[in-house]
Amino acid sequence: QTFSPDTEKSRIESSQLAAKFGAVPKAPADVQMGGVMKALSNEYWQLLRTGYLKGADKYGVKVDAQAPSNESDQIGQLSMMNTMIGKGYKALLVSPQSDVNLLPGIERAGKTSLVINVNDAVAPTAQHFVGNSQYDNGVSVANYMLKTFPKGGQVAVIEGQAGVYAAKQRTLGFKTTLAKNPALKIVASVPADWDRQKAFSTARDLLRRYPNLTAFYCNNDTMALGVVEAVKSANRLGKTLVFGTDGINAAYDSIKKGELTGTVDSFPILTGEVAVEVAVRLLAGQKLPKVVATPQALVMKSNMAQYEQFRK
């Protein structure tokens, strides 16, 4: 009965917004929005902020986006949100650190302003959600592997921090989908806490145990880049594939160099922009579906060019 954007019926693809609801209405003068982000220590969230600012420019509003200093300061993020509510924003774009840590803030803010849950963890009480499906992140990599390795192989998963929504969903989507071909065996699925160094040493251990590993699937790009170094130092570059998630710039660079195999880009800049657009539409009184799904795609060297447009 809890809300899950991955399965929610009331949804629309962000690319369909203009077609269904027309051009973006003009926002009244001096509308201010607040962004409560998850953290600024990962490039992904910085790109989302860039998207907010871009959207703000585009739609003539102002966005202040703030973030607590680390990803697991849940009360800190709640206090930050509470503080921002006091500043009287018309809309708050929030990306909770966990499913539940911002619930009281969302309830309080809901009385006076619009609250949109942007990405990642999902507050069950959120009325609006903009973002991609975390579950599908995992699905798209699994599908690629089903297609590429019908004869099977050994696969390892590098998970994010234990118990965190994005890590759970991505891993679940990947594992569930991959199970369609029993010959593709998941030989290990271990956490590296979103940390490059931990991913690096974990991957090295796994490569030693499974020297013929077919591929790594990593819950984010930072870890994937650490894994790439491990693969390189084991002389398995090109033989053991590495997939990341998020689509940060460094991942693109690495793909271009032929090191990282691919990343599931969920286009944070675009997402930020869409979030502002959705806020403007909602403030203008449009009745949008509950979930506005933003695009995601498995970006690899071969198809990179076609996604460049979403990245600026």
């Binding site: 953290a39 202040d64 703030q66 200093s69 009360i75 206090s79 509470n82 006091g86 009281p104 118990g163």
Partner: protein, 322 residues
């Protein structure tokens, strides 16, 4: 022995000393006044309660327990994990239909048990507190995660949410609870045998033992207190959130230690006060609040936080004298 050359100056300095110990209070008030002028919307009841109050309240409750532990010369890194474990067990029981009060008691008992294990490992097995609670920090977190299979527990009973998460006369219950606990644990520390022994153990455990006092019992007690208060803080938090999750509480140990130490508790043991922990928690929360109100970006928030913590301690150092 005719004259009393010695006594006069050192006699009642304790009052002045206590005021001095509240040098941090001066910093807090100074900060509040400056910010009231400099930062729009800082000076408001709403901001004080919602922006500063809640996080300070929870940090304070945890810091009280840690202050006790630190005074004995120990440390408790496991508070966050203990909080998570008690919270998910309590929440789970409520969801399964146990009356909220009973579930709360079980959660507190879980906290006590977690603390007891820490305490016994420290006193009976004589392991270093740091290593014991580093181990149980990981272990209790693992328990909380496997208990819930990593899922949050949602929709807690309304009665529970209202009773621990609500208001009384406009004051949020967490804040009231924190203040009452500060008062109670100050009283215990200052005016009970137990409190005096805890202070004494931190000052010179060997001397206390030579006085025929069972030091192990009191040291263990501080860990139990720390566990129970962590559990209570977790209950207060989940009543606010309306949900409990197994990753709750990470990083609590550092904030609580910081609050204690900023408030004048010495990590070497033997010295400390609970009111200081409250002031320390308030200072840290106020800092965060102001930086958010000013719209300072995360990177610069870090710079500012670091500078202000050290700056406050330098001021404190020089106003305090020795």
């Amino acid at each position: 022995m005719q004259k009393t050359q010695v006594s006069a100056p050192s006699n009642r300095t304790t009052i002045i000393e206590r005021l001095r110990e509240a040098g941090i209070l001066a910093i807090l008030l100074l900060g509040a006044v400056v910010f009231s002028f400099a930062v729009p919307s800082f000076f408001s009841v709403d901001n004080a309660i919602n922006g500063i109050g809640l996080s300070a309240a929870i940090n304070t409750i945890v810091a009280i327990g840690l202050t006790y532990v630190i005074i004995t010369g120990g440390i408790d890194l496991s508070v966050g994990s203990t909080a998570a474990l008690s919270a998910v067990i309590g929440a789970d029981l409520m969801q399964r239909g146990l009356p909220a009060l009973l579930a709360v008691l079980v959660a507190l008992a879980v906290g006590a048990l977690a603390g007891l294990i820490n305490g016994l490992l420290v006193t009976r097995v004589q392991l270093a507190p740091f290593i014991v609670t580093l181990g149980t920090m990981t272990f209790y977190r693992g328990l909380a995660l496997s208990y819930t299979n990593g899922q949050p527990i949602l929709s807690l009973p309304d009665g529970f949410k209202r009773s621990l998460g609500g208001d009384v006369l406009g004051l949020p219950i967490p804040l009231i609870a924190a203040l009452l606990l500060v008062a109670a644990f100050t009283l215990i520390l200052r005016s009970s045998k137990t409190g005096q022994y805890i202070l004494a153990i931190g000052g010179n455990a060997e001397a206390v033992r030579l006085s025929g006092i069972n030091t192990n019992r009191y040291i263990t007690l501080t860990y139990v207190i720390s566990g129970v208060l962590a559990a209570f803080a977790a209950l207060v938090l989940i009543a606010q959130l309306g949900a409990a999750e197994p990753i709750l509480g990470s990083g609590w140990e550092l904030s609580a230690i910081a609050a204690s130490v900023v408030g004048g508790t010495s990590l070497a043991g033997g010295k400390g006060n609970v009111v200081g922990a409250l002031l320390g928690a308030l200072l840290l929360s106020m800092l965060q609040n102001v930086l958010t109100l000013l719209g300072v970006q995360a990177f610069y928030q870090l710079l500012a936080t670091g500078l202000i913590i050290i700056g406050a301690m330098v001021i404190d150092r020089y106003t305090r004298g020795t």
